[in-house]
Amino acid sequence: MPFIPHTLDDVRVMLDTIDVPALETLFDEIPPSLRISELPALPDALTEWQVSRLMTERAAELSQPLCFLGAGAYEHHIPAAVWEIAGRGEFYSAYTPYQPEASQGTLQVLYEYQSMMAGLTGMAVSNASLYDGASALAEALLMAVRANRKSKSKRVLVPRTLHPFYRKAVRSIVHNQDIELVTLPYDPSGGHTLKEALVPYAGQDFAALVIPQPNFFGVLEDVDELTDWAHRHDLLAVAVVNPTTLAVLKPPGEWGRTGADITCGDGQPFGSPLNSGGPYFGFLCCRKELVRQMPGRLVGRTVDLDGKPGFTLTLQAREQHIRRSKATSNICTNQGLMVTAATLYLSLLGPHGLEQVAAICHANTRMLVELLSAIPGVSQIFNRPMFHEAVLKLPHPASEILDGLLARGILGGFDLSSEYPELGNALLVCATETRTEADLRQYAEALAMMV
């Protein structure tokens, strides 16, 4: 479908037809205090040639360091076919199609995506995606507060082991809706959320408990125990997972006695490259009973008049084009392109391929930790099982060491000192399947020279 902008004449004809003097008049209902007439911080427009030159110069400044940085976005091998296919004109749109008669291909891709995500997470339903992992969690919590009829409090328990950026993004989104986030401390030796941390809240009114797996430190949480605690105290269990782990770890739908109620996370590891932070996509899955509280697009499979299978958007009465201000959320679209890539990525890898990726990530990170903690003054902080990230204690501030490593062509990890000052000189490192043994040794040698 081509994008055809309106000409000034088109706009004039439309305004005349509805008898409105100027386009501005249509925005009258937005209070003037909220409107910005000028954007002084924006520089003047450049020509295409000037932009192209600027970008070429900036690209030349970028190096291609060996990446040991994770912290929420991960470098994975993406088969070349993924973006070759996703980039085809037929798929090249971020939008969900309204017209099933004209969009069966896109709708089927979304349906296949939803089926794969539901299968991986062990949940009954997946939506067609959201913007990113953090906004998916915010939507999951809004959903939990709406759906949990046993709770009146609009309070949610959030472990401090959840990604700090997720905690900030969620707070930004939900605090104007009077939802209170209560932070749970972590065990300083294991780096996980202890059941004891929950004890003070037993008997109080909370709508949901967030359970990250793995958590921000890469550490595996006691998901069964946490899920069961939530259910015993009438909280919904909201899982935040790295989707790559689902190939090797128990899916949230099987956590505890009855499984998590909502599962979300960032889909970036499935086929989205690390493009300076995005675009990525968020996924959101839930139990069948919660589907009418779920925001976002849902594609369903049906049959046409002749009995042939077909695909269409479904359960649209949840959405704002039907329900206006009473919709489940203002999310009325998805990340179609990134989801197309994810569907292709999963199709090309298959269950066994994904399992291999997860297993190699884990093995590489274990080896990295072993090599690095053999260096005097460097040690692993938490003693619990991890997936593909670990926290290391360093003899000097992490920022200094990271600068030194970068000078040697190594992106050494995430400095935890501003988000977790209590950990001291702590560094979060990651090694995915893209790191070779030589890469790991190169990191260890560089670090050994600096401490």
């Binding site: 309204y98 009829r149 009418r292 649209q316 009465a317 084009h321 039907i322 329900r323 009473k326 009325c332």
Partner: protein, 143 residues
Amino acid sequence: MSSTIPSELRYTETHEWVRSQEDGIVTVGITDYAQHLLGDLVFVELPEAGRVVTAAEGCAVIESVKAASDVYSPVDGVIVEVNELLADNPELINQDPYEEGWILRIKTSADMEGLLDAAAYELIAIDEDEDEEGSLTNSKLAG
């Protein structure tokens, strides 16, 4: 469009019917006219008993194959009972809007005289019928 408007009931402009009982409890549903306009119902979102409602406040949502609509409380009061059967059988509203398809019961001290009688409601239904875009079918697909 022909629809039934029982003379013993009271009505609202938003297409709810109200049946009063002696104990100050009223039963509320949507009219035959409204269920016709909405088409096949697929889901009813019910409130919880015990909720305090004011007149004209949205207290339930009914979803059909073509629209989702609020059910507005006709009176001030407290919801004392909801029709749990609708959770699995929303079509009861289509099949029998005035009996099996009742939606909720409200304890109220409100006077029924403020509500429409059958004759007045019939005029509203006729009015809307003449307008091609009845208020219940205003929800259209958009960007």
